[in-house]
């Protein structure tokens, strides 16, 4: 199957006081539809920077990024903004949601941005929220929901427009372990079911239990890629360390 996401020697460097920092250094990865990838590594290893590059929010210094077969950095800014709203789903650490929109409106916004909020679109948004256990929370504002519920709304928003790629930067950072497990498991299940390419940055190795591939970064480089089920299992129990 064709890759939903491919990078070729992607590099992001910063010049700082005469010093060059390689935040992301010649990273080549690919993710297939229905594949859920965890991006791990120590603080400062370039995980968030890589995610921003993949999202088209940050221009790489070198290399190329293709999403759904489209080279991301050959588009105009306007095209890229539109492309982002069509092809990419986002889940951020926290304060993900628009505070003055209800759960359903937050999810629908993604469809609205794409001119796709019609009756079937709304039904689909409601069904997704229902699948995420938020049937009774659709009219709630983010401030009226728990952190876990908010992140589940964010998951619905990241999936509702049927993007090629779902990017999540530490989506469980503000949750307790039990909630975090639930959220990641739910995310994994939906990514597999709906055949999206999912990339999740996490600090918490236990969260890798539900992923298909673990990419470990150090100093901006890909240090290790773990793909075998057994290894990932062992890794998530911390026996690797």
């Amino acid at each position: 199957m064709a890759n939903s996401l491919e990078t070729q020697l992607v590099t992001k460097q910063y010049e700082n006081a005469g010093q060059t920092i390689f935040a992301v250094d010649k990273v080549t990865i690919n993710v297939k539809p229905g594949e859920f990838v965890a991006l791990i590594g120590p603080s400062g290893s370039g995980k968030t920077t890589l995610l921003a590059l993949l999202a088209g929010l940050l221009r790489p210094s070198n290399g190329s990024i293709n999403i759904d077969g489209h080279p991301l950095w050959k588009m105009s800014d306007r095209e890229r903004t539109k492309f982002r709203s069509e092809k990419i789903g986002f889940i951020f650490q926290s304060s993900n949601l628009v505070p003055y929109l209800s759960a359903l409106e937050n999810v629908e916004l993604m469809l609205k941005l794409n001119g796709r909020l019609d009756k079937p679109g709304r039904d689909w948004a409601m069904e997704l929220l229902d699948q995420l256990g938020l049937k009774d929370r659709m009219a709630n504002l983010p401030s009226q929901m728990s952190g876990g519920q908010q992140q589940r709304v964010a998951i619905a928003r990241a999936l509702v427009h049927e993007p090629a790629v779902v990017l999540a930067d530490e989506p469980t950072a503000s949750l307790d372990t039990e909630r975090a497990y639930q959220v990641v498991q739910t995310l994994g299940t939906l990514i597999h079911a709906q055949k999206r390419a999912g990339i999740m940055v996490t600090h918490d190795l236990r969260m890798t239990r539900w992923v298909d591939k673990v990419i470990r970064m150090t100093d901006g480089k890909v240090a290790q890629i773990i793909e075998s089920k057994g290894e990932i299992e062992a890794f998530s129990r911390g026996s690797d360390h």
Partner: protein
């Protein structure tokens, strides 16, 4: 567990293969703008209230400018004449200006002049029943049938040159409650003595204030009898050709005013002719008062600009992260900006409307003696500038919006 409820179903009809039917709801910018206002009613109402209070203040100042201005110029502005002629040494001050009948006769000879009326000003008071403070009025002496006389809306105009009759203006009529046919008693002074005169009201004219006082009109000879005067004038018998203050000149062709005033100034000695606007603008104190109030209004508008601008700017700064998220998920900068502009327009217009309603409510409760008028250019231009300053103040925050980086959503920002 949540996950138990998850079905692994994929959406039956997939994106690209499907035609999208009627979109639900409003376009993105309007949707965002309205939802935000609706879900933060309290905060936005507060901003609107501030706008409303500024509107109230600005409108009151404008109303006062208009009311005081009108009180000073009403009579002159509504003269059925095009030129006002002063004694040239009087510096266009009516109370200082003195003129004789001879001048009037000379003015009548000038080409293009249709009629000339002598006008004399003084002040008397009208005692009111029930222990109320007497009503101070302008006593204006005019020549019946000549310019200077007001139009009459009820009853008739002055007819006789020396009868004890009067035309009162609407202000006097409403404050005294007197009607056509009633007797009006005016209190004047003769030397150090108080003197009362009875005048029959023959007509009522539209409001014709001069020097912030409502007016009563009497024939010139009656005026000379009634006006307060020092004893000396009578005793010594000086000043035989009793002077009046100014002459009102009506032209055959009103558009000739500039040309005819030039001829008058050249031909007739020791006088100066000006148009009505120049005349009331030179009423003592008028320009100073109008420009002071005008300045106050400009400053209040500036304060409004800063307050509204500051409000929206602070609010926008607090939203930078949230706007980063909106942009990251694919909302265009234009949408975000349009949404914000619409909000500012709505909140500001609502505030101005609220302020206007408050103003008119308060004004309705004011006694009629308070010189506030909510008509005229000062009020219209104030409302117009109030409608503009909000969005203008908001411009500063649009720049913050446009600059808000989607990278912030990821905790990165360049």
């Amino acid at each position: 567990m949540v996950t138990d409820t998850i079905q692994t179903g994929v959406r039956p009809v997939s994106g690209k293969s499907r035609r999208y039917r009627t979109q639900l709801g409003l376009p993105v910018p309007i949707h965002l703008a309205l939802k935000e206002v609706w879900r933060n009613k309290g905060r936005f109402f507060l901003i609107s209230s501030v706008v409303a209070l500024i509107t109230l203040l600005v409108l009151f100042i404008a109303g006062l400018t208009e009311g005081l201005g009108q009180g000073n110029r009403e009579y002159i502005e509504n003269l059925n004449a095009q030129l006002v002629v002063y004694q040239d040494k009087a510096d266009l001050s009516i109370p200082t200006s003195r003129m004789s009948q001879a001048t009037v006769r000379q003015l009548r000879q000038v080409d293009g002049v249709e009629a000339v009326g002598a006008v004399a000003f003084s002040n008397v008071s009208i005692p009111l029943p029930g222990g109320k403070a007497p009503l101070k009025v302008s006593l204006i002496g005019v020549l019946p049938g000549e310019p200077g006389e007001p139009d009459v809306t009820q009853g008739r105009a002055l007819r006789s040159k020396r009868a004890d009759e009067t035309v009162i203006d609407a202000g006097v009529a409403s404050r005294t409650g007197l009607k056509v046919g009633d007797m009006l008693t005016v209190r004047s002074t003769l030397g150090s003595k108080e003197q009362l005169y009875d005048l029959r009201i023959v007509g009522i004219a539209p409001s014709s204030q001069y020097f912030i006082a409502p007016s009563i009109f009497v024939p010139y000879i009656t005026w000379d009898k009634v006006r307060p005067q020092p004893l000396s004038t009578l005793e010594t018998g000086q000043d035989p050709d009793v002077s009046f203050n100014v002459a009102a000149v009506r032209l055959k062709n009103p558009s000739d005013a500039p040309a005819v005033s030039k001829i008058i100034n050249a031909k007739v000695k020791e006088i100066v002719a000006v148009n009505l606007q120049t005349a009331y603008e030179n009423t003592p104190g008028y320009s100073a008062q109008q420009s002071t109030l005008g300045l106050m209004r400009v400053f209040t508008l500036l304060i409004g600009l800063l307050v509204i601008g500051g409000f929206f700017r602070i609010q926008t700064m607090q939203k930078v992260a949230q706007i980063g998220v909106l942009k990251a998920i694919g909302t265009s900068s234009a949408s975000v900006a349009v949404s914000s502009i619409m909000q500012i327009l709505t909140i500001n217009s609502f505030g101005v409307l609220l302020g206007a309603i408050m103003t008119f409510g308060l004004a309705a409760g004011l006694p009629s003696a308070v010189p506030i008028r909510f008509v005229g250019s000062a009020v219209i231009s104030s409302v117009a500038s109030l409608l503009v300053i909000g969005p203008l103040g908001g411009l500063a925050s649009i720049q913050v919006l446009l600059k808000a980086e989607p990278l912030r959503a990821l905790g990165l920002a360049s």
